[in-house]
């Protein structure tokens, strides 16, 4: 018996991810909203949607803050209440959780959640600096550490303790690029070979170029309703049955154990308990693979395998489409791209497609239960959602 339905996804939209030269971030959000409205002709946005929760990490990219009302305006929703949520890369995962809470609490019947980020117009070193703002200021970012650097520190410790290899990390990249090549909305729709990934240049040893996610522009959105209302809008609803979120020390330097993300583990446990499902019940998952080591750690934190066995899990092919538990069928952050504010809801969009049988070439047959796992920064925030086909 699975858990109670907290809220129901009746529609979803995603902008094309990639280098969206020339466009404004908010225009990307309009593109995502347009798709969500087109999927749901019975919905009158301005009349039915009562609140907007959006994830957006940085005002530095476009020198534009106050994103909540701006996006409500561009999605044609004024004057609804609009709130921007900033939890680094987990911004829109948290927005999804707050939207779910708003519906579950009975405060609103229908809400929109989403996220946006426009990043590619800035130089890589600028973007690296803006992203580093999600780490501790005096003791991490002002010491030259970057996000690849922080995850590299975790990777070194993981290799040291469990014998995880650089090849196993590269296999995550190969798998996700394979899936991304099947996704028409992915940023980098091309396959890579293991040799190419292994011989790419080092960014922060042991992480190489192909171990790192992409700097991407993109926006995503979902329309959530009370479960009882879903029938009015769609024949293929997807119910959110579990949600969890946890926090950890912002500095990696104060964590008890850096071979795991404690917040991810706790968020996962909370979501599993609420949804009354077990890791082995999950048919398809989108996990936060900002770096390949993060995907390996996520397997372990979410209970897809025992601690230390994440490397072997990908090596066995269990997480490929057609494997025991397909992970990141969209291509993940690695190949679909990582517009930080849009990522959490972007993952939910892929699960929505998978559970409604719309994922085309990357469809996981008969998927009933899906999971998305969104991490902020180096793991100071993590949020996990579990979905069921309606």
């Amino acid at each position: 018996m699975v858990g109670k339905r907290l809220a129901t996804i009746v529609s979803a939209g995603l902008s094309k991810f990639g280098r969206r030269e020339g466009l404004y971030g908010r225009e990307l959000f309009a593109e995502a909203a347009k798709e969500a409205y087109e999927r749901c002709p019975n919905l009158i946005p301005k009349k039915d949607i009562k609140a907007l929760f959006v994830g957006h990490m940085g005002e530095s990219y476009e020198h534009q803050g106050h994103t909540g009302p701006t996006l409500a305006d561009w999605a044609g929703l004024l004057p609804v209440q609009a709130t921007r949520i900033e939890n680094a890369c987990a911004s829109s995962g948290v927005a999804l959780r707050l939207g779910t809470s708003a519906v579950f609490s009975g405060m609103y019947d229908i809400v929109m959640v989403g996220g946006v980020e426009k990043m590619t117009h800035r130089t890589t070193s600028d973007v690296t600096e803006f992203l580093a703002m999600a780490s501790d200021f005096p003791f991490e970012q002002w010491h030259g550490i970057t996000f690849p650097g922080l995850y590299a520190l975790m990777a070194t410790a993981h290799m040291h303790r469990y014998g995880t290899t650089e090849e196993q990390m590269a296999m995550v990249a190969v798998k996700n690029h394979h899936n991304g090549a099947l996704n028409p909305k992915a940023h980098m729709q091309k396959e890579v070979t293991l040799e190419k990934a292994m011989s790419s240049r080092v960014i922060a040893w042991p992480l190489k170029l192909y171990d790192c996610s992409l700097i991407t522009d993109g926006a995503s959105c979902l329309i959530l309703t009370k479960p009882e209302l879903a029938k009015k809008f769609t024949d293929t609803p997807v119910h959110i049955i579990g949600s969890g979120q946890a926090s950890d020390a912002i500095g990696l330097y104060e964590r008890e154990d850096i071979t795991t993300l404690k917040a991810g583990k706790l968020a996962g446990q909370e979501a599993y308990n609420k949804a009354k499902v077990k890791p082995q019940d999950v048919n398809v998952a989108e996990v936060h693979d900002c770096f390949t080591i993060a995907e390996i750690i996520a397997y372990e934190d979410l209970g897809f395998c025992k601690p230390g066995k994440g490397g072997s899990l990908v090596e066995e092919g269990a997480t490929k489409i057609g494997g025991k538990i397909p992970v990141n069928t969209s291509g993940g952050l690695k190949s679909k791209g990582h517009p930080v504010g849009a990522t959490g809801v972007g993952q939910a969009y892929e699960i929505y497609l998978q559970l409604t049988g719309q994922a085309e070439k990357r469809q996981v047959e008969g998927a009933e239960i899906g999971l998305s796992h969104n991490v902020g920064g180096s793991g100071a925030t993590a949020t996990v959602h579990i979905y069921r086909r309606g």
Partner: protein
């Protein structure tokens, strides 16, 4: 500007800064002032209109949702891309852990200790995080300049302020006597790095110190043998590929900044 002009300007800037600060924080008199240089750097930028839009480009390309192929079928649109400098001079406090950074200026490493549970923090925390201690105020303690490597990485990409120092190795060091770990640059060749290595903390010359963590770095305690199980020792091919990437990075930095970061010049 003439010599006299420069001096006048310096005085003026100093005066502006003093008056502004004194008016704003009247209960916090300035005890030591080392910020004139920053103000001098900043005033001309902010006062000569560099914030204005300085240029633009017109781009023409596909627009709208869907796949690239779908977008390319549509009528291309023209976009205007503007260039503007949006600088900021951040003046902000290190707060209650300020003594740590003053300690760095003097070549000392300080930590804090909870009087209730005895946990020692370096990096310092002003309050104990143990829930049982109820946010107790910590006390300052002096720590030794020795520690052990907890984990490490070798960076070949960095944020703009650190790019000219690439490539560099850094990681977390557990300072002897502390319970948490401190970020530290290593002046140790990557092929000699390993988890568990004993290190000594050194400081850059006094006149170069700025009161942040880059004032110190770690060197290996001599006489340690690199163990065979060390991650970078297992496979010579991977070590070679790392060193090739480092060489590429050194060339890039030389070209962009004119700085030679090769091991022969830096000595590590």
């Amino acid at each position: 500007m003439t010599e006299v002009g420069v001096e006048e300007r310096k005085l003026k800037v100093r005066k502006i800064k003093r008056t502004r600060r004194e008016a704003k924080y009247k209960h916090y008199p300035v005890v030591e002032d080392h910020s004139t240089a920053a103000q001098e750097y900043w005033e001309p930028i902010v006062n000569t209109g560099l914030w204005a839009i300085k240029g633009y480009q017109i781009l023409k390309g596909p627009c709208g949702g869907g796949t690239v192929e779908e977008a390319l079928k549509r009528e291309p649109k023209e976009f205007m891309v503007i260039d503007r400098a949006a600088f900021a001079l951040y003046s902000h406090s290190y707060g209650l852990v300020s003594p740590f950074f003053r300690g760095l200026l003097e070549g000392k490493l300080k930590g804090t200790k909870c009087p209730k549970c005895g946990a020692t923090y370096c990096p310092p925390r002003a309050h104990c995080w143990n829930p049982k201690c109820r946010v107790a105020d910590c006390e300052w303690v002096d720590l030794p300049l020795t520690g052990v490597i907890h984990t490490f990485t070798v960076q070949c990409l960095a944020a703009a302020p650190f790019e000219h120092q690439l490539p560099f190795s850094m990681g977390w060091v557990k300072i002897d006597g502390a319970d948490t770990t401190l970020a530290m640059m290593f002046h140790i060749p990557p092929r000699e790095l390993f988890i568990g290595q004993k290190v000594k903390i050194k400081f850059v010359p006094k006149e170069q110190r700025k009161g942040d963590l880059t004032d110190c770095y770690a060197v290996a305690v001599p006489g340690q043998k690199v163990p065979k199980w060390a991650c970078l020792q297992k496979d010579p091919e991977k070590l070679e590929s790392l060193e090739a990437s480092m060489k590429q990075t050194i060339q890039f930095i030389k070209k962009r900044y004119g700085i030679d970061n090769s091991p022969e010049v830096r000595g590590w």
